[in-house]
Symmetry: C2
Subunit: 483 residues, 2 copies
């Protein structure tokens, strides 16, 4: 923290200063500009995009968006909220979920106004992303137990249209950012790359009035006449912070740029800001969801532990958090799909004539895997899964020769990022531990704890980053003038 009194002169100034040029930062910049503010965005790397740009581009929206309607999907904000409350807890943020779901239809329209294209085509198979340029898909296990009993399932993964992925073009995340970047430019936002924030500047009254950043080896002081919005991602790249908050995430592949070092979180904490669910993390398991649903997933005791048609991000959390990262996928000839496996770098690690042989080859306790398969098959023959309630659609006894994929792939087993961060209001104001807010300080995206509170659903991070980013920008623009 730097005292305003120690600033000799301001090198730059704007109404709103945004830190980070990912989806949350750009949405904040646009939101502030829409509210009439002039805006500077500071980005530590040489270009926009951040982790958002590297992602598949899924944006979790619903309640009856124009795209859902065009695909003939009925959805309500209430069903969407009920699903998110169940899927993102325990510890879901009810207040954020409510306004997010109520505002979701309008937020979709806003993205379209920003130029983000969506193709009105529904992809109905299980998958991390659509194979082509389809615009809508299920992406959170909405139609799987236990969520199908909690809320009417609807596909809510909105995917920006890209050139067909099979032709090797960039993905939906880049397409989202490309159009947000165009919108930022259209609003005349001052975008400064290679400019890394290192301190918040605080006035005598405790309000944030600017930042000190580093550009080409020189300090740059940037005054924020109305507010600063922190939107520089999470902390998956910070080894010390992971050890202190989310040690289970260390050692796996990390989704995030070097900027996901948690600095914005710590800068705000230095001013007394509260943090929430710092232990939470997404851990996407590296397996084709279409393969997963057709097999039997077991742990190293040879026991099942989840319905295989669950959202695979949920499966990944369960394997990582509760099974020390170890799992195996059993498949018979009909279930196995070599192309699907190969896309994830997978292959059958064992193939045997009988489950008994497989059990032995895998080094599992005698009888354990046999009991699991016998119980599964017996009930599957009746279209039932009384243990974990996999949907009837995927239930079929595994028969004949049987193989297993060893899903212990080393660091590539899981792709992780952090979900914990600053405690913010629905307008992005950063909450102080004393219950007040820090004047002049706002945050959005994975610098905050938001819609994906503890449990993760694909598309909620780009979703809440853009939604609450925009709100934070608008609120910062309307924040009382500091000078």
């Amino acid at each position: 923290m730097t005292a305003e009194a120690d600033i000799e002169r301001w090198d730059l100034d704007a109404d709103v200063v945004v830190i980070g040029a990912g989806c949350a930062g750009f949405s904040a910049a646009i939101g502030a500009a829409e509210a009439g503010a002039d805006v500077i965005v500071l980005e530590r790397t040489g270009g926009w995009g951040g982790a958002s740009s590297q992602s598949g581009g899924l944006i979790y929206l619903g309640g009856g968006t124009a795209l859902q309607q065009a695909c003939g999907i009925h959805d309500t904000p209430e069903a969407m909220a009920a699903f998110l409350r169940a899927a993102t807890g325990p510890g879901a943020n009810d207040e954020k979920i409510e306004i997010y779901c109520e505002g979701s239809v309008a937020h979709y329209d806003w993205l379209v106004e920003c130029g983000v294209p969506f193709k009105a085509e529904l992809f109905t198979e299980p998958g991390w992303e659509p194979p082509g340029d389809e615009g809508l898909m299920f992406c959170g296990g909405e139609a799987a137990h236990p969520f199908r009993e909690i809320a009417a399932p609807a596909p809510r993964g909105h995917v920006p249209q890209m050139r067909d992925k099979r032709t090797g073009e960039r993905g939906g995340g880049w397409m989202l950012m490309h159009h947000l970047a165009s919108t930022v430019e259209r609003h005349g936002v001052d975008l400064r790359f290679d400019t890394a924030v290192r301190s918040l500047v605080v006035g005598a009254g405790g309000d944030v009035v600017g930042v000190i950043a580093r550009h080409m080896g020189e300090d740059v002081s940037v005054r924020a006449r109305h507010g600063v919005v922190l939107a520089s991602g999470g902390f998956v790249q910070n080894v010390d912070m992971l050890a202190q908050h989310a040690p289970q995430l260390e050692g796996w592949a990390k989704i995030g740029t070097d900027g996901d070092d948690g600095l914005s979180i710590r800068l705000a904490q230095g001013l007394g800001a509260a943090v929430v669910h710092m232990n939470a993390g997404e851990s996407a398991i590296s397996v084709d969801p279409g393969l997963l649903v057709r097999g039997i997933l077991v742990d190293r005791q040879g026991q099942r532990f989840i319905n295989e048609d669950s959202y695979p991000g949920r499966v990944g959390q369960k394997v990582l958090n509760e099974r020390q990262g170890e799992s195996f996928l059993l498949l018979d000839e009909e279930a196995y799909d070599e192309d699907a496996a190969r896309r994830f770098g997978l292959r059958l690690s064992w193939v045997c004539e009988t489950v008994e042989e497989l059990e032995t080859d895998m080094g599992l306790p005698a009888g354990s895997l046999q009991a699991t398969v016998e119980t599964y098959n017996r009930h599957a023959a009746n279209g039932e899964d009384p243990l974990f309630h996999k949907s009837e659609r995927w239930l079929r006894p595994l028969e004949g020769a049987i193989g297993a994929i060893d899903l212990r792939l080393g660091m590539y087993t899981f792709a992780t990022f952090t979900l914990g961060g600053l405690d913010t209001t629905i307008d992005g104001e950063v909450r102080h531990v004393d219950g007040s807010t820090v004047p002049g300080l706002f945050a959005a995206g994975r610098t905050t704890s938001g819609i994906p509170a503890v449990g993760y659903v694909s598309g909620t991070s780009l979703g809440d980053g853009t939604f609450f980013g925009r709100r934070a920008g608008a609120a910062a623009a309307g924040s009382p003038r500091s000078v």
Copy 2:
């Protein structure tokens, strides 16, 4: 936070001001007094003791304490450290573990010097506490898988001697606190009850120079010439903090006084203090450990999930965190012990002639429980448990009529308290998120994250509360004079 400049006059002053009169606060007071400081302890309730006083009194010590030696036990600091690293992680605090284990023998001697009595008698059965006044016991699953393969097992639960519990006298926690209180008194510490801290006073340079407390409706300003030690417990009584950090702990029985509201943690955070593992919590499952080891513990899929001879606090964490709090204990006639069950308010919820009938009566999926018992029994007959490696001592096929205890008891299923808290150095200095320490501010006990980082072991909370409390008090006494 209150600025020193706003203090008109100090009502009280001392070299070291300690907040909280539990084991950590009293140890800090004694540590400071031993270092020559004059000390004030502020306690919000009407008497000393806190949660420490309500506890069973186990103190986790080892490496060859005089009590271990008197009981003929061989132990080393290295074995103790290896065990604690494994049992309290992932995310164990290696630095604290190392100095704690190295200093454990001397710390035991210090407790004895403080008057705390220990009877040189080893209790070897599984249990939460000794039934009588035995002084030493296993209390962390040291002899169970996986820890027996990691470090040479030794009993390290040191229990202050009380009148025999069977005669209804107070427990070991009270006895510990009684003798620490006498020592505090002997050192002439100024002990102020009904005095609740509400703000830290900070000097112009950012150093903590005192506190504002509330006594009988009046504010009292208390100057700390050298340092303030926060030792007022965790946050299990703060519903909002639980929702933000450890939602899994809400709704269960809470071990802690009203003072465990997290205020000290938040006051320090307001000055930029870092917190660690705020999601972590102990969740002791309400079952007799002696009954547990003789049975088969299953989840609602009828599957085992842990070796039943594990430390039952570890079992409780697994049931609460990974099984939604639901578990069932299967016992045959030989394994069942009505007295042991009754002591925990338990009884057989179902009794059947066969496992198949039991499975039906419990509403478990057909074949699930039968497969579990069949696999368990077949291996147990050979003295093996290839699934979870329960010790041979407890392995025996369950035979004949079989019953199950429903361990879903409502809020009394688990007794919980929080383990997360302030990030402190081995001398109790409170770390700032920027990597420095907050001058003049110290903390100990469950206000901090310490030896029980994420995983819990009985006795580590009183253990690290007294050990690092004493160090924090001594460090505060030696802290540069603030005025």
